[in-house]
């Protein structure tokens, strides 16, 4: 009889440990995917000076776009919290996008090896930001399912874990870019 009770107690303790570890693992996964977004945004802003340098020699008339990009980068670097970083990062992306649109008018620039490489690099970063965000939201989904479904919900209240918010897409990015010919 006593053995049974001891066995049951050990089982209960084990279940508590398993659930605690699950919460920690999932939270770590969320933090990790968040930092992955951060890394990609940082990489993008690091590439901007190179981009400006390679464009400078070719683009004479549309100086405004370049200052726009530089300004957007500065704002991104000044962003304090994560939410604003994501927002400024999106603004920087759209500024870079309009720079690329203008580059279309300069055949020599488009033939420049260095410029092409940067263009590919930045396009890849844009994909990676999207994938990092997708993974972040996936991780949140798994975590939220755990905190809301039974029996996870009881453990969530014991450990004081509550559902987390999804990363929302900033308004600028939702708008479909206008294409004019």
């Amino acid at each position: 009889m006593i053995l049974w009770i001891i066995g049951l107690l050990i089982l209960i303790v084990l279940i508590f440990i398993v659930y605690y570890n699950r919460f920690v693992t999932l939270e770590n996964r969320i933090d990790n995917s968040l930092s992955q977004i951060d890394v990609q945004l940082k990489k993008r802003s690091d590439l901007v000076p190179n981009l400006i340098n390679s464009v400078k020699g070719y683009v004479k008339h549309e100086r405004g776009v370049m200052t726009e990009v530089t300004k957007a980068r500065k704002e991104f670097m000044g962003a304090k919290n994560f939410q604003s970083k994501v927002q400024k990062g999106a603004a920087l992306q759209s500024a870079i996008g309009s720079l690329f649109a203008i580059a279309e008018n300069y055949p020599q620039l488009k033939a420049n090896e260095n410029f092409l490489q940067l263009q590919q690099e930045l396009a890849a970063i844009e994909d990676k930001v999207a994938y990092a965000r997708q993974h972040y939201n996936d991780s949140i989904l798994v975590y939220n399912n755990l905190t809301k479904r039974f029996p996870g919900v009881t453990f969530a209240s014991i450990y004081r874990k509550s559902a987390k918010k999804y990363l929302e897409i900033p308004v600028e990015e939702k708008a479909v870019p206008k294409v004019s010919f």
Binding site: R29, S33, Q40, Q120, A124, K128, Y131, Q134, H135
Partner: protein, 304 residues
């Protein structure tokens, strides 16, 4: 396709099916061992089982720890270069982020054919290798689809899983061999059994079983391999969220004409299950295929 399966459902279903199949192989193993020990001597049961398990494990584990090196060396793959294969790196980095797995090592093998494989015993030691032809002929989305498929083999621990099935098949084959050989040497009837005819019937059943079991086990393993392909297709889509990419890549693979010469010398038979599509492109699909038919894979992708 009447019902619309989400990728999570598909992954789940295929995983359940393949665990079920592994169970079947294991049951084969137990029954075969039991029948043999009945014939030879019931007290041998555990000795035979342990011997088969240990032998098969040693054999396969040696292969398992070097699986990536063996695979890469056998197709003469070279490390992908950051400058030359930039698109490959971008696709793999994107998929590593989307899957949350560490970045695999990338390799390229010389072949005009579109193909790819993954190897390595854990996500931390994973390797993805694609052919030159794949890098040339696939566009960005298609390449991402292919890399995502390989990434999900890594994420689903398929390499470990297929190793386990190899161990099980090995065990079945080894005890079958032991039995068939021992029949030559043992004097079964000397044990003073009561019924000679029953004994002979048992021996015949045993022989039949010993011949058929390894073949049956191999068929089950091939069926597992096909299930894992569907599962990898489905979980690859979880990373790209773009079924059309992989579907288009498979269409290109299907329509590709490979010269007979190219088929012959590249890939050994044992490597075939690792690839994204059957490197031998057999015309006949069936029980002995390592991969499900491309048409069916495309159809399932388009239904997602």
């Amino acid at each position: 396709m009447s019902q619309h399966l989400s990728f999570d459902d598909q992954i789940q279903r295929n995983k359940i099916k393949s665990f079920f199949l592994i169970g079947i192989i294991f049951i084969f193993f137990i029954i075969l061992g039991y029948v043999i020990s009945l014939i030879l001597n019931p007290s041998y049961f555990f000795i035979i089982m342990i011997f088969a398990i240990v032998f098969s494990m040693i054999y396969v584990i040696a292969g398992y720890y070097n699986s990536d090196k063996i695979a890469l060396a056998s197709v003469k793959a070279k490390k992908a270069s950051h400058t030359e294969h930039r698109a490959f790196y971008h696709a793999a980095e994107g998929m590593a982020i989307a899957s949350g797995l560490p970045m695999p090592k990338l390799y390229v093998m010389e072949s005009e054919e579109i193909n790819a494989f993954a190897s390595g015993r854990s996500p931390g030691k994973a390797v993805i290798c694609v052919t030159n032809g794949a890098l040339k002929k696939l566009d960005k989305q298609e390449l991402e689809g292919v890399v995502a498929h390989e990434m999900s083999h890594i994420a689903n621990y398929d390499i470990r899983f297929m190793t386990l099935t190899a161990v099980l098949i090995g065990m079945v084959s080894i005890i079958a061999q032991i039995f068939l050989r021992s029949l030559w040497f043992s004097n079964i009837n000397s044990g003073g059994r009561k019924d000679d005819r029953a004994q002979i019937a048992l021996i015949i059943i045993g022989i039949l079983f010993a011949i058929l079991a390894p073949i049956a086990a191999r068929l089950v393993a091939l069926s597992i391999s096909r299930k894992r392909e569907y599962a990898a297709d489905a979980s690859g889509i979880k990373f790209t969220r773009y079924p059309t990419g992989l579907a288009n890549a498979l269409k290109k693979i299907k329509n590709e004409h490979v010269s007979e010469k190219d088929k012959e010398h590249r890939v050994s038979n044992a490597m075939a299950p690792l690839f994204i599509s059957d490197p031998f492109k057999k015309k006949v699909q069936g029980l002995f295929s390592t991969h499900p038919p491309v048409e069916e894979r495309i159809r399932r992708l388009e239904a997602m």
